[in-house]
Amino acid sequence: MSRHREREVEIRVGTEALHRTIKVQVPEDDPKPWDLDSKLSVVGTDVQRLDAVAKVTGRARYAYDQAPTGLLQGTLLRAPHPKAKVKRVDVSAALAMPGVRAAIATKGPGTDFVQVRFAGDDVAAVAADTLDAAIDALEAIEVDYEVEPFNTDYLAAEGAPRRDAAGQVTDPWPEEAEVEAALAAAAIQHEATYSVAVQTHSSLEPHGFVAWYRDDELEVWASTQATFGVQAGLARALEIEQSKVRVHAEFVGGGFGSKFFAGAEGVAACRLSRDAGAPVKLMLSRYEEHTAAGNRPAALIQIRAGLDAEGHVTAWDFRNWGGPGYIGRGGSAREPAYYLQRAKRRSVQKDLATDTDSSRAMRAPGWPQGFFAAETMLDELAAKAGLDPLELRLKNDSHELRAAEWRLGAERFAWDERRNAAPGSEGGRWRRGAGLASAVWGQMGSPGRTPHKVTCRIHADGTVEARNGAQDIGTGMKTVMAMLTAEELGLRPEQIRVTMGDTRDPAGPASGGSTTTPSLAPAVRGAAVQAKAELAAAVAAHLGAAADDVTFAGGSVGTANRRLSFADAAKLIGPGSIEATAARLPNYDGFQDFVCGCQFAEVEIDTHTGVVAVRHMLAVQDCGRVIAPKLAESQVLGAMIQGISYALHEQRVLDHNVGRMLNGDFLNYKITMVRDMPSLDVVLLPVANGKNSVGAAGLGEPPKVATAAAISNAVHNALGVPVRSLPITPDRVLAALGGGK
């Protein structure tokens, strides 16, 4: 870790069109950062996801698939009331039922909690021989509730603003002299209120655990995006030493921000296993996934803004009321600050608590909701000013890189042709429109509070391992590790055996904030470089050459004129194996600390039925060094698909009289499927960012930021009027057109 022996290197960073040369102080054991001039043979090539076949054939074993001998099935009793105190829980009748092996209270006297915070909060748990026996036993648990008045509608909560029939906020703005003066001076002024519905994460694999507590040690298979966080959380909850808790997450069926913690289900599974003396599987049902495993919060966003005569944003007043559920925080909405450099601005964030499930981080938390409102507002301003939306963006966007992306995207998307110059005026039934929106994300990875590490092993039989204890949540991180290791060792990715998702391996990050790849990639490369140096020394001694002259390429090792196959070189290793562990070092200053992106959408709307069809979308996104293009594109495509679904279909529907979710399934919780998919085009803009030895940047979240906003703007263009609420369902389209309700 010490940086006392550093060397100065020069690297060329940025893009070919927008590059500069910088000097970097590189620690002695860290390789020179890859830059615009690096010639790589594996990284950046079109490699298949290495575990693709295992996944599509069902051989990949997720937490859900674990079935140790003697496995019991666990389930949670869920409170029927949105708000109540638990006065008594008696599990004795449940325990006496045939096949029931353990039953515990998770709320009420004798536990840490008495308060039921939402309908579906956990109250007790049971493990039995079969899941049906466990569910039967739930009915035998006696619970006394002291039921309390509840509110599940954040817009009916105390502190919620008054709105008119069209949903526009009518409460006065709090005074703010500078912003108000800027607004008054603006050539164009506009004000509008926007709203977004709650979106649930809807991971295909539900939250859950297989837990096995034996011999005072705990082994769990978790569906998680934070193996080490779960390890620490379970050790605290079970009051055992962290060294006695081992967490596996070899394959994870999605998390999107909802799976950072052990949760009620994880703690209950472990307690049940301890009581029963047998392994216990406790996976949530789909209804529990929708109702008790987090969500992207609802938001009501009001903006008033002004443009000067040249089309610069000079005033920007933004207030957001977030609906994050019982937790009462986390409902903030983000704004595209890079348009607002000239503006007098204010941002007011207020959360309105309700007796509903808590929001959790969800893929770019706060960003898609805020950007939907802000980018839709910008198009409303542009329409008032008679400006093309792209022109307005180019006038105001302060990011050099995105400016290049706007131009690239506009040409590839054929913006000028697709943009409907006379929206809503032709009176035809089907109307087409095009829209665009921007994205930003600031995440280049980090060492972690204590550094993440990666181990590379080269065995005497020629096999190579790369190991880290964090999870591959589905992004393809294992393939990325194989590619980076193969790059250094002159091998092919499929020759590298990668292990992730076991807390006995070196520490790694939680998969949040789009950090896993940029945080681990430099350590993967570092470990491979160090292991390579040890093998190079052995080969050099064998050949009687200098170690510096030994190269690794094309499956062979040696000097320019004397080379061994990698397998023969490995025979020089021993006894034991070469093992090198490298730490993730702090980032250098590099090119820039964020990534940019923009998206373009074309929609076609049936004005008789109100159905919006997205016909085509383009995403232009930079993400530092692209290691595995297919996997990177897959991240962007997945985010766009999730964004289309957010824009058009997804919404949690609660019955506020009863206080429960109605569509906690995949029947009425509507997720965009294949027939609603447009053609999707992705352009990844490679940037040598010089932030570290690899220069990868996070990519999971940034492409989710712009999608709904681009679609909303395309709808506005098609109809000639905006639809200011997500999802843009047929009833809302008809209402915007002045028909229907």
Binding site: A119, H608, T609, D655, N663, G664, M673, T729, G740
Partner: protein
């Protein structure tokens, strides 16, 4: 789900004899398994009709009649040559556009016609719904009803989910039922459903020990065309928000015969004879179809959240009429 005995009959009469108040029939299982897993239904015995597929899944046409076994799948209905006649198109369209390929491969004609409403209060045991018997008011009326009925309701605003029923209405289909006496009888498809559906009315009028074994109809006269159209929020794996089946026969440029049935707007399929009557003797035109569609929805009395169904359903019906009248 709760434990139950599974009975796999060798003949339809075995199945009928076994049936009673504590049994449930299973065909494709699309509707039933969800209800068993949600524990809104807990029969002592499930009678699996799938062993009877050999005799009950055929689709055939002889001379002027088409007969669909109750266990024929939606995929079979969508692909069969027996419905190639333009007069029968509506039925094949409805089957082929439903749900997903996986479901169409499994879901049956009988199950489609007899399924429980998809009301989100009804199918969730956590809600005390009136129609289910768990509660004493229809929660949807005061609660969330964007997908609920806009006409033909009493104290319950569920919608009938079958998308095969509207085309079968306009084709004047009959259903063949194996009764408690061991004999079969035919009844018009409209008699399968309650006349004035209330919360206490079951979705259909078959007794617990009666089995729907087939559906059949006479192929309409030459020159007849039928069409089915529905609206949805998404185009795959979704339920209709409104649906329309129509049958038209043109003679010398004028409409000589017409039938209209709406789906997804009421607790039962809604035949619209008064609207159809407006078409008779008239030449097809946009104005005519708009007038007929307006008449079809004249009795609509929507609530706040489902008012959109009126313009959407009107547009869907006009589409179906326009397509059926289109010269080919």
């Amino acid at each position: 789900m709760k434990p139950f005995a599974l009975f796999r009959p060798e003949a339809d009469r075995d199945a009928q004899a076994k049936a009673g108040a504590e049994t449930a029939f299973k065909a494709g299982g699309i509707d039933l398994l969800d209800r068993l897993k949600e524990r809104v239904l807990a029969p002592q015995t499930v009678i699996d009709l799938m062993p009877l597929r050999a005799n009950m899944a055929a689709i055939g046409r002889d001379a002027d009649r088409v007969r669909l076994g109750a266990l024929a799948t939606l995929d079979q209905v969508a692909r069969t040559d027996a419905l190639r006649d333009p007069a029968c198109t509506a039925l094949a369209e409805a089957a082929g556009d439903a749900a997903t390929p996986q479901i169409r491969n499994r879901a049956t004609v009988g199950g489609n016609l007899l399924q429980l409403s998809r009301c989100w209060y009804l199918r969730n045991a956590r809600f005390s719904c009136l129609h289910s018997g768990r509660g004493d008011t229809c929660l949807a009326q005061e609660g969330e009803h964007r997908y609920h009925a806009i006409m033909g309701t009493n104290d319950c605003i569920r919608v009938h989910p079958s998308n095969l029923a509207p085309p079968l209405y306009v084709l004047d289909a009959k259903v063949t039922v194996l009764g408690a006496d061991g004999a079969t009888r035919d009844l018009p498809i409209r008699d399968l459903y309650p006349e004035d559906p209330a919360a206490e009315s079951p979705e259909h009028r078959l007794a617990a020990d009666e089995i729907l074994v087939a559906v059949h109809f006479a192929v309409p006269a030459t020159g007849t065309r039928s069409c089915y159209r529905e609206s949805r929020e998404k185009q795959a794996h979704d339920w209709a928000t409104t649906a329309a089946a129509v049958r038209l026969r043109l003679d010398g440029g004028k409409i000589a015969e017409a039938a209209i049935c709406l789906g997804a707007v009421a607790p039962v399929p809604m035949a619209r004879p008064e609207a159809a009557a407006l078409l008779i003797g008239e030449a097809p035109s946009a104005t005519l179809f708009a007038a007929a569609a307006e008449r079809a929805f004249a009795e609509a009395d929507p609530l706040d959240q489902n008012a959109y169904k009126v313009p959407v359903g009107t547009a869907v019906l006009i589409d179906a009429l326009t397509e059926a009248a289109r010269a080919r």
